[in-house]
Structure formats: structure tokens, C-alpha cells
């Protein structure tokens, strides 16, 4: 099949162009950053502090997420209970959850006036503060504990059921099973999970923006934002961007070397039958682990709804107009993702198309904020950046979502080619007819998922938009953040509910609307 005669038609050609353009755009923005950075300017003590804080909080977040994930995943792997499937689905939700909504929920639980402090105060403890290192790590664990749990759960489910049957027939006890089956699996799965989470936490701007700040809790990305927006020091922003670029590129290279990818982990199967885990305290431990995870995820979300729903009816008009702005960004970004990832997947499924996937994955190494800074530097001499805030946000969000879209779509496209490529070729099914009759019907499930993901992610984005937006052109997440900053918590809660509902509705709508299978 390797040398089948195939003319280069529109879609694969477009895919190749996209596969060249995306790394090119990332490189051009990096180049702009590089040229703008003043040579010879060393790292100030504050810059060093930002680097240290970025790495330290990412390390802690990753470590805590992974440690907590082990008991939760183990409980999910070996217990059958009502709502198990729902809980596993819920573990996928934080990926789609707008950061600012989660932050609002976490503040409601762990903030100064929150539930946790009320309990602590009742027990006679000092109230704790959610701002600074604690808060940043707490929010990162909130987002990444579910991811870690899914990855580790996947590891557990990859242990063949026969192994557990064999262990049971040998009458191995729980500790022997841990030793021979579970610990080797954890050693295989955990380093990858930890590294993925570490990388995510080094580029998580919105959490640092809302819960960090000050000399002790500023990440590099937050410092870029401050240099650009408050000090208007382009060369300082550029210099910091270079540092951030260095961090993400090194992390991405390590990831690539380990052959890892930022997957989601599936883990929807039934739990393996176990004979070693029927002890009373094991049961209680699992109940506690599952209860803890469910509460940790559900309480903040519940708090958003409790606080926000009563306020939705009286939200100021500015919230609704920013919702419309966010929707248009999300739809534009989704359109870009659909067209580009479809074209790239088609091109990647052709013989010798392997490099296309690699080119698309390169965007993982790109911090949206650095790309944004580069674009800011590039367009600043010609246009007011505020004027291009929405298109730039849509574009950058699309680029950072494409690796996830390709992950889902390229394997599906390869399957289509292996199963039906020859049949379609021999029928002379080419161009639009091939697209309409073969590719679209068979790719719609991963395409719908990718479109939903893209819509939800750019709906909730609070990254690039913060660099570019002017006060009157805010998107919904930015509006929530501003309302919170102004201590208008009721309005902020109402807007957070609107944002949450819109994000999940977009995901659900695209995933079901495009992804409905018809075979």
C-alpha cells in the first residue's frame, strides 16, 4: 500500500499546509520574543523567584495529585457500586471546566468565608488562607487529581483479569498482590502521569492569576502578564517568555522521550473481580477514598450553583454581552479546529504522513501565553492589540487544542484507510464524494469529541484574552474574574454558572450533535 498512486487532492494538501503553518507560527512568535528580549539582561532576583515558584508549585501539585490518586484509583478499580460509572465520567469533567469557575467554587469552600474555615473555626483553629502557594497547589490538585486517577485507573484495568484469577488460585493475599501485580504497574504508570501533570501545572496561567501573585507566589507566566499589562515592558515580557519557553520545551522533550502523551485514560470497563480485597478495613479505606474524591470534586461545583443560580436572573447586561463574545470565540476556534484537524488527520493517514502528527503535537510544547506574547509583539507596531483580542484568542486556543484533536482523530483515520481505503480507491471514490460518503460518517465520533473539547476549552479560556482584552471587550471568564476582583461575589457566581452551563452545553452539543454514530 506504501506506494499506491494517489494524486494530492485538496484535503491532504490543506493538511500539509496546516502541519507546516502551525509550527511556523509557533516559531515566528518565539522568534519575535527572542528578538525583543534584550540581550545581556540577566535574571533579576524577582525573575528567579518566579522560576523557582513555577517549578516548585508544579512539583508539589504533581506529587500530591499522584499520591492521592493511588487510593482513589485502587478503590474504583476493585469496587462495584452504584454511581461508579458516573463518578468516572465526573473525573473527566475538570478538563472541560473553566478554571475561573473552579476557582470560584474552591474559594467558596476553602476561602476566608468558606465552609472549610467555618469548620476549622468551629474546632478552634486559625482560619487558613487560600491565596499563595496553598491555593495554587490546591487548585492544581483539584484539576489534576481526576486526571491522575484516570491514568492510574487505566493502569489497574490494563492488568489482565487472568492475573488476579491466577493470584487468587495461588491464594496470594493482598500484600502479595500489591508486591507482584500492583506495585510494578504503579512504577510504570506514575512517572508518566506525574510528568504530564507537572507540564500542565507549569503552563496554568489562570490559577496563578487568581490565586497567586505577590513576590512569593508569582509564576513566570503571571510575571509575563504583569510585565505586559502593568509595566508595559515588552522586552522584560519577552525575556520572561524565553524562560517559560525553555521550561515547556524541556518538559515536552522529556515527555516525548518517555513516549508519553497527554491522553485522558479511558477506564470505563467493569472492575476486575478480586478475591483479596474483602477485609473490613480495606472496604472502609476504599469507601473513604471514593467519598473524599467525590466530595472534593462535587463540593466546589455545588457551591458555584448554590451561590450563583439565584443571581443569574439579575445579572448585568455586560455579563450577557461578554457571554456572546465568548460564544463567538468558541465557535470560531471550533471551526478552525474542525477544518485543520480533519485536513491534518487525512494527510497524516497517507503513506509517509507520520511527521504531520509530530508537527501537530509540537503545539503541546507551546505555552499559549508565550504564543500570545509573541503575537502581541508582532502586531503591536501595526494595530492596537485590543482590536484583535478575540481573533487571536480563537486562533491560539485552536492551536493548543489541535494536539488533543489529532490524538483522537489520526488513529481513527488510519483505521478508515486500512479498512476501506482500497475499496474506496477501487470504486474511484475521490474528493468530496470520499469525504461525504466515507470519511465524515466514520470519523464523526472523534471529530465530535474534538469539536466539543475545543468549544469548551476556548469558552473557558482565561489566558491569551487577559493579555489582549480591553475593559469593554471582556470575554465571560475575564468578566467573572473582574467581578470577583471587585468583590461582587453574587454577580461573579451568577456569571460563573452561566459560563459553566455554556461550556458543558457546547461540549455536549458538539459531541452528541456531530458525534452521533449512525451505524
Amino acid at each position: 500500500m506504501a506506494d499506491r498512486a494517489q494524486p494530492l487532492s485538496f484535503w491532504p494538501a490543506a493538511g500539509i499546509v496546516a502541519a507546516v503553518a502551525i509550527p511556523a507560527l509557533i516559531l515566528v512568535t518565539a522568534g519575535a520574543v527572542f528578538l525583543q528580549a534584550e540581550p545581556g539582561q540577566g535574571l533579576s532576583p524577582a525573575d528567579w523567584a518566579a522560576v523557582r515558584f513555577t517549578l516548585w508549585q508544579a512539583f508539589l501539585s504533581s506529587l500530591i495529585s499522584c499520591i492521592l490518586a493511588i487510593p482513589v484509583a485502587r478503590a474504583l478499580a476493585r469496587r462495584k457500586f452504584a454511581g461508579r460509572r458516573m463518578l468516572i465520567t465526573l473525573l473527566g469533567a475538570p478538563f472541560l471546566l473553566p478554571v475561573i469557575v473552579a476557582v470560584f467554587g474552591l474559594l467558596a469552600i476553602f476561602g476566608r468565608e468558606g465552609l472549610a474555615n467555618a469548620v476549622l473555626g468551629g474546632l478552634g483553629f486559625e482560619p487558613m488562607s487560600i491565596f499563595g502557594l496553598h491555593g495554587v497547589v490546591l487548585a492544581h490538585v483539584f484539576f489534576n487529581l481526576p486526571l491522575a486517577t484516570r491514568l492510574v485507573l487505566q493502569g489497574w484495568q490494563d492488568i489482565p483479569g487472568e492475573r488476579f484469577r491466577l493470584a487468587a488460585s495461588l491464594d496470594m493475599d493482598a500484600s502479595a498482590i500489591q508486591m507482584h501485580l500492583e506495585r510494578p504497574m504503579l512504577w510504570r504508570v506514575l512517572p508518566g502521569a506525574a510528568l504530564v501533570i507537572f507540564v500542565i501545572c507549569t503552563t496554568s496561567f489562570a490559577v496563578a492569576l487568581t490565586l497567586g501573585g505577590g513576590p512569593k507566589a508569582t509564576t513566570v507566566e503571571l510575571a509575563i502578564y504583569q510585565a505586559l499589562r502593568f509595566e508595559f515592558d515588552l522586552s522584560k515580557a519577552a525575556f520572561l517568555s524565553l524562560i517559560q519557553l525553555g521550561i515547556t520545551v524541556v518538559a515536552a522533550l522529556v515527555l516525548l522521550r518517555m513516549g508519553l502523551s497527554a491522553g485522558f485514560g479511558a477506564g470505563m470497563d467493569r472492575p476486575a473481580q478480586r478475591w483479596d480485597a474483602n477485609g473490613v478495613w480495606q472496604r472502609w479505606f476504599d469507601v473513604l477514598a471514593i467519598g473524599f474524591a467525590a466530595l472534593f470534586l462535587l463540593l466546589p461545583l455545588g457551591a458555584v450553583f448554590l451561590r450563583g443560580i439565584p443571581a443569574v436572573a439579575d445579572l448585568p447586561a455586560s455579563v450577557w454581552s461578554s457571554a456572546v463574545r465568548s460564544l463567538s470565540v468558541a465557535l470560531a476556534s471550533t471551526t478552525i479546529v474542525i477544518v485543520l484537524s480533519l485536513a491534518m488527520a487525512i494527510a497524516a493517514a497517507r503513506p509517509n504522513g507520520g511527521w504531520i502528527e509530530a508537527a501537530g503535537l509540537l503545539a503541546i510544547a507551546a505555552s499559549p501565553l508565550v504564543v500570545g506574547t509573541g503575537l502581541f509583539i508582532l502586531i503591536f507596531p501595526f494595530v492596537r492589540p485590543e482590536a484583535l483580542a478575540l481573533p487571536v484568542t480563537a486562533l491560539v486556543n485552536a492551536i493548543v487544542t489541535i494536539p488533543f484533536a489529532l490524538r483522537a482523530m489520526i488513529p481513527a483515520m488510519r483505521t478508515i484507510e486500512t479498512d476501506y481505503g482500497r475499496l474506496a480507491d477501487s470504486l474511484g471514490l475521490t474528493g468530496w464524494a470520499r469525504m461525504r460518503l466515507l470519511i465524515v460518517p466514520r470519523i464523526r465520533r472523534p471529530l465530535g469529541f474534538a469539536a466539543g473539547l475545543s468549544a469548551a476549552l476556548s469558552m473557558g479560556d482565561l489566558g491569551v484574552i487577559a493579555l489582549f482584552a480591553d475593559p469593554n471587550g471582556a470575554t465571560l471568564p475575564l468578566q467573572v474574574q473582574r467581578l470577583m476582583g471587585a468583590y461582587r461575589m453574587d454577580d461573579a457566581g451568577g456569571a460563573a454558572v452561566v459560563l459553566l452551563v455554556l461550556s458543558f452545553a457546547l461540549f455536549w452539543g458538539f459531541d452528541r450533535g456531530i458525534g452521533r454514530a449512525d451505524d
Partner: protein
């Protein structure tokens, strides 16, 4: 007449050579696994390009045509039908490979579906057909393609022996004028249905010989394969 002229094809240390003509009617291709039977079909269909030599149909050179532009239709071992399209659309694509098959193609498809005995099942999806019915639907599409050469790469091997025989006799009786080339692992298929047979071994393709003659006086390689 299909003519294969000095065709050569190298992949790694596998070398393939063929030089022969195939007459209309059913010709069987037999030989051990890995000998090059499927390569022969791939080269005729255009899924692979030869390193040297030509493929001719009635003395016009088709060596460099895309698979869809050749006078060749293929019945694969499986995946002959698009699972998301109904039977009628699947069949109509044989005459009109467009996003919306032309209405006269749909009309012709209906007739072809009747000829293979699937009348009434036009609206079904492939998954709602039995294995035998799926083979019939694929055959109906080949009837519609108007292509004089039909390649069958172990097309009905997933069916039971009785069904397979039924499909082969249906294929030969519905397409008496076409050049049918069938790869098979079962010498009985060749004896029962093929006028001529081609023996392939180690990438060397022998010229077609009358099936009765071939099996009555097998060359050394074939005798070893059969025993």
C-alpha cells in the same frame, strides 16, 4: 484480454515476476501463503505499482492508472461494504461513485440487488445482513460497475463451504463475459469453478493452464503444495 508483460516488483528480499495473459472466464490463482498471489492481484488492481513491466487491457496500457480508473473491480476478503451506508447506496456506488449517487444508478442498483436475490433488503445496513447476504450485496455492486476484470481475493472464504460454492457459481453465471481472477486456498474451488488456473510459488507466476490438466499433471512445486 488482460496481459501482464514482464512485470517485476521487489519488496525487501521478496521478488515478484509475472509474464502472462488471462482469458475471459474464471481463472484461479493457487499457491502457498506468501508466494505472491495477493501481490499479483494488487498489481492488477493498482494498489501497488510495479518496478518494471506493464499491465495491458486489450492492448491499452493501464500500468499507471489510479485504481478507480482501471477496468478492474475487486471483491475483498472483508470490508466490501461501507457499514454506515444502506445496501442500495453501497451497490449504487459501483455505477456512480458520487456523494449522491445519480438516480439512474439507484435504479440500476435496484435491479442488481434483485438479480443477486436480495430484493426487499435495499434499506438495510450491512450489519443487519447475514454473511452470505453481505457477499451478495458486494457481488451486486460488481455487476453494476461495468468493469470487465473482476478480482476476488479470497472473497468468500469467510463463508461456509456450501455458501461459498453457491456464491462462486452465482458469480460465474451472472458474469459469463467477464475476466474473473480468484485467489483461493482451496484446490476444490479451482477444480469446480475455474476453467484455467495459475500456480504461484516464491514470487514466480506461471502462465494459466487448463485446471483439469494442471491437477492431472501437477508440476513439482504444485504437487508438494497439494500433498
Amino acid at each position: 484480454m488482460l496481459t501482464i508483460e514482464n512485470l517485476s516488483f521487489m519488496r525487501g528480499d521478496f521478488a515478484f515476476r509475472a509474464d502472462m495473459s488471462v482469458k475471459p472466464g474464471l481463472t484461479a490463482v493457487i499457491g502457498p501463503s506468501g508466494s505472491g498471489k495477493s501481490t499479483l492481484l494488487s498489481l492488477i488492481a493498482g494498489f501497488d505499482s510495479p518496478d518494471g513491466g506493464r499491465v495491458l487491457w486489450n492492448s491499452s496500457d493501464i500500468t499507471h492508472l489510479a485504481p478507480g480508473a482501471r477496468p478492474v473491480a475487486t471483491l475483498f476478503q472483508d470490508n466490501n461494504l461501507f457499514p454506515h451506508l444502506d445496501v442500495l447506496t453501497n451497490v449504487a456506488l459501483g455505477a456512480s461513485p458520487q456523494a449522491k449517487p445519480a438516480s439512474d444508478a439507484m435504479e440500476k442498483a435496484k435491479q442488481a440487488v434483485e438479480r443477486v436475490g436480495l430484493a426487499g433488503l435495499e434499506a438495510r445496513k450491512p450489519k443487519d445482513l447475514s454473511g452470505g447476504q453481505q457477499s451478495r450485496a458486494a457481488l451486486a455492486r460488481v455487476l453494476l460497475t461495468d468493469r470487465p476484470v473482476v478480482l476476488m481475493d479470497e472473497a468468500f472464504s469467510a463463508l461456509g463451504p456450501a455458501l461459498k460454492s453457491e456464491m462462486l457459481s452465482m458469480a460465474t453465471s451472472l458474469m459469463p463475459e467477464k475476466t474473473l481472477i480468484m485467489v483461493t486456498h482451496d484446490p476444490e474451488d479451482a477444480k469446480k469453478f475455474a476453467k484455467e488456473a495459475i500456480f504461484v510459488k516464491d514470487g514466480m507466476v506461471a502462465s494459466p493452464v487448463e485446471t483439469q490438466v494442471l491437477f492431472a499433471h501437477p508440476p513439482a512445486g504444485l504437487a508438494a503444495y497439494l500433498s
